[in-house]
Amino acid sequence: MANLAQAIRLALHFGEENLGVTDIFGEDVGAPLGGVFTATQGLKTAWNTPLDERGIIGTALGIAYAGGKPVAEIQFCDYIYNVIDLLKLCGNVTWSSAGEYHVPMVLMTPVGSGIHGSMYHSHSFESIATHIQGWKIVMPSNPKDAYGLMLSAIAEPNPVLFLAPKALMRQKGAELIPGEPADEKTLHNMIDAPLGDRSDWQPNWPPVEDYRVAIGEAKIARAGTQLTVVTYGRMLPLSVNAAETLAKEGLDIEVIDLRTIYPFDLPMVKASVEKTGRLLVINEDTEVTNFGEHIIRKVLDEAFYSLEVKPELLAGLDVPGVGLAWGYEQNSVPQADDVLAAMRRLATERA
């Protein structure tokens, strides 16, 4: 099974061949490295930019203006904060030009903690991103969804932000991507660059097929009746695991994988909360003006009187960063134990 980085790579390859992708670029995105997580190895339109995020986003917008289909990368979302003005432009020129131009671009960036990344390789970005208008925002929790979301992102005529949970980059999927060789060694030999000198290496792409995960459609990752957990990205597998553990205690918990963060699948969330009467939103971003608070507010608006207990957010502590030593990360970003505890508490709270 492809891992998440390989899935992105396969999707980008499909995009180059079939969906008009003209440029895949960013810092260290081209040869020889092919991206710090190898997500862009061997792609024919991949190239290395100067170390300049403002140039990257400006170039992407310009390519989109000139009829191209750019997929830009910011190496880590931790380094995206000097271009928020440009992201706002990408998101508002369609509206400000009253539709004269639109911006078919994809921006991908790794997010989240879990790799001992210290203060500047652990940021989450969905809270600020969802406050920037005009972007659609997706975040997969597994390789197959990463593939399907990336194809949808490429096909979308509006700017799409593709957040890649960095702690899951090497995680393998449970399901094959259509066209992927069944044996993962085979895949590895076909598409992973060799160690050492790569100057003569060429990938041998498997015949991957068109497979889309529609933007805006969440998925019930585990069905249940007693508590609705809404999450995405790295927190999804933790939440599903916790739900399985709690199932042994007789608690039946529903876990929704948003997949699209904006516009998020409110109908699915609402239906679930109406069924369970309880809501827990989980993410790893810091907790003040957190996107999860938006989810809660929307649920209040639509289903306040269905709530049996107070809805909650489990998120990162409001500290200036995720410290390097494990003691910091463990105590400021939700961990498996915290997820389990919050789910148990909310599922069993007296209404």
Partner: protein, 332 residues
Amino acid sequence: MPATPWIAPALDAQLKIAIHDKMALGRATEEMMIRMMRTGHGYFWIGGPGEEGFNVPLGLLTKKGHGPDYDYLHLHYRSSATILAMGAEPINLLRQMRATATDPYSKGRNFVNHFAIKPWNVVPVTPTIETQYTTVIGTALVQQRHGGDGLSYVTGGDAGSAEGDFWTCMNWSTRPGRELPVLILVTQNEFGISTPANQTQNNLRLNERANGFGIRNACVDGNDPIASWHALVEAMEYVRHERKPYCLQANVSRLYGHSSSSGANRYDEPDCLGLYEQRLIRENLMTQAEIQAVWDKHNAQLAQDLQIVIAEPMPDKSHVLQHVWHEGPAGN
């Protein structure tokens, strides 16, 4: 089917007169918009009176059309004379000034002189100073790969060049073996709102900043449309055919101050129009009466246009959610 190669028109008597016509149109349009602002037919004015001597030649020398065979324009908010020289309808500027629902550039959303004209590769003018120096990289990159003689040009003010985006533009357009066909323009009017250039710039020839990148550069008197024409021809020929960047500064006047926020009062700076008219008379290309007739023609037309614009509908609630998303297929 590649577009025909671009050949700059010869600067003959007829063209010199046409340049005047467009300069006067630019000025008359801006002055009409200043009046609109004063009489409650607009909230805010910002524009280009004082830059016509440079902006009209720029517009006339633009290879106008859609797609990478043609020039891409990343404009500043003082570029009215450029797009009028290219053939834009003055009434559309008045519409944006009044923020009517009929404003074709922004549907009443953006300030005046914030254009977006896809058939002519005029990408949206941004209110954020200097970001256009980053987007120009992208269109030029597509053109570099596409071939032909289309170029991308970008223009902005002197103060704005302090933003690092100016650096980004020079750096990305000189990557070895990947040089870009970008014409980097700067208009030096020696002010950023109220701040005099000599407080913030150690060399008023900002084009010389490009020396750090080995980018060919020059400075021209933007109050002189003939000198501007020649300087632009030289710069554009270089960019079109060498497929490398060039940086050109135009020294210009800011005749009505920064914007309506600072009064939009007339200042005593060299006026490219008066200077050019004297020259046309001196060179026996036009008489005073002919010049007057040009102004009368434009003013009469603008007065008519204003009546039309005033009667047009304003945006309402139904407009707010339009164009948040593009619905059709992707591709500009």
